[in-house]
Symmetry: none
Subunit: 230 residues, 2 copies
């Protein structure tokens, strides 16, 4: 189905690189590869891929730096980036997400999971590129109507406070994407973040409670943040 979508893999381990290339090629993606951060950036600049798979542990310029650069240039900022990280590198994951990475996946991972993530991210970016800025968000049995400021869950209308509403809008607008607490705070307070991480927890709890069964869709990602399950 993906007719000619191109993916750039930046990874220095030869074995993993080949495995990824094989799997992605079989799914019909046009695959390019780079083994260092510098080469990766060069490849992005010379011809923008539709998605970048980026290992965080790279010789020389590391993945975080590459991510920051990609997301920093207006020209390439819209290209989705999925980070590959070793387990336990949670602080790196957090930093990566804050630098604008779109998702992450921890090694070791199954090809199936990777494919699912890639497709989710690509679908989202496609929708955004089309400019379908819908004021009506729907995900996991929850609808969020931004224009009316109304939320429905499980057929029932749910009454949320302003903050709860913003929080849900954010999470539900990009299902499956993990948001760090800092990102959530910034989104809710429009840039002025003078608030403890803990307050996000409290909002999440109360949101979960108000959403009833559908509240289970809001998942905690330990050490990282929260996400809305699709």
């Amino acid at each position: 189905m993906p007719s000619e979508l191109s993916i750039l893999i930046v990874e220095d381990e030869q074995d993993l690189l080949e495995l990824l290339r094989y799997n992605l090629a079989r799914e019909g993606y046009a695959v390019r590869t780079a083994a260092t951060g510098e080469d990766g950036l060069k490849a992005v600049r010379s011809e923008a891929p539709d998605l970048v798979l980026l290992d965080l542990m790279l010789p020389g310029m590391d993945g975080l730096e590459v991510c920051r650069t990609i997301k920093g240039r207006p020209h390439t900022a819209e290209i989705p980036v999925i980070m590959l990280t070793a387990k336990g590198e949670e602080s790196d994951i957090v930093r990566g997400l804050e630098l604008g990475a779109d998702d992450y996946i921890t090694k070791p991972f199954s090809p199936r999971v990777l494919m699912a993530r890639i497709q989710a991210v690509l679908r989202r970016s496609e929708r955004e590129a089309e400019g379908v800025e819908t004021s009506l968000i729907e995900a996991g049995g929850v609808t969020v109507d931004r224009e009316r400021h109304e939320v429905h869950a499980g057929g029932e209308r749910v009454d949320l406070t302003a903050t709860e509403f913003k929080l849900l809008s954010l999470l539900a607008s990009k299902p499956a994407r993990v948001f760090t607490r800092q990102q959530i705070i910034e989104a809710i307070h429009e840039g002025f973040a003078a608030v403890t991480d803990r307050s996000v927890d409290v909002q999440v709890v109360s949101l979960r409670r108000k959403l009833g069964t559908a509240g289970k869709n809001i998942e905690t990602v330990r050490g990282v943040g929260y996400r809305f399950r699709d």
Copy 2:
């Protein structure tokens, strides 16, 4: 937020042109430019923008002429035009408005003011495009006749001041939609926003009182704004 609205700037001063381009691009508008009246018209014809920023002082064909032409052709007449004029060119301003320009702004101006004007004009044109020209609005036991400036609630005729009338028109024109106080202020003052949020509250209170029972249809959405119940 403006997802793909395009703006055409017609301006011969290179510096100002770049400043405008930069600011507008940053707000998310697709910007095109032209340096002469002739080029401007050509650009409008080849692909109609959503708004034209038009300098009045242009080499060759001047801004008034361009404006007249745009507003003269049925095809382009609906495109809003904001004129840029030097201070003191008042007779030109008057003529421009007579020719159908939608607003004007005198140089020098602050980017913020310009943005506010642009947004106000775009919003207005959007509303008109949506055909909210209907002069008779009816919702929740209240009728608003824009043509006669009359309001009825619960069978009784209600006497409103100009501001109250505009406020009610706005809210009732899109039942269930929540309007922020800023949106209300901009709508009522047509772009010139130099008023406290609190003053909206006062208008709402007095409107509610005058509407009697039907006043309950105006709901407060805490932390956000007001809406007219459907």
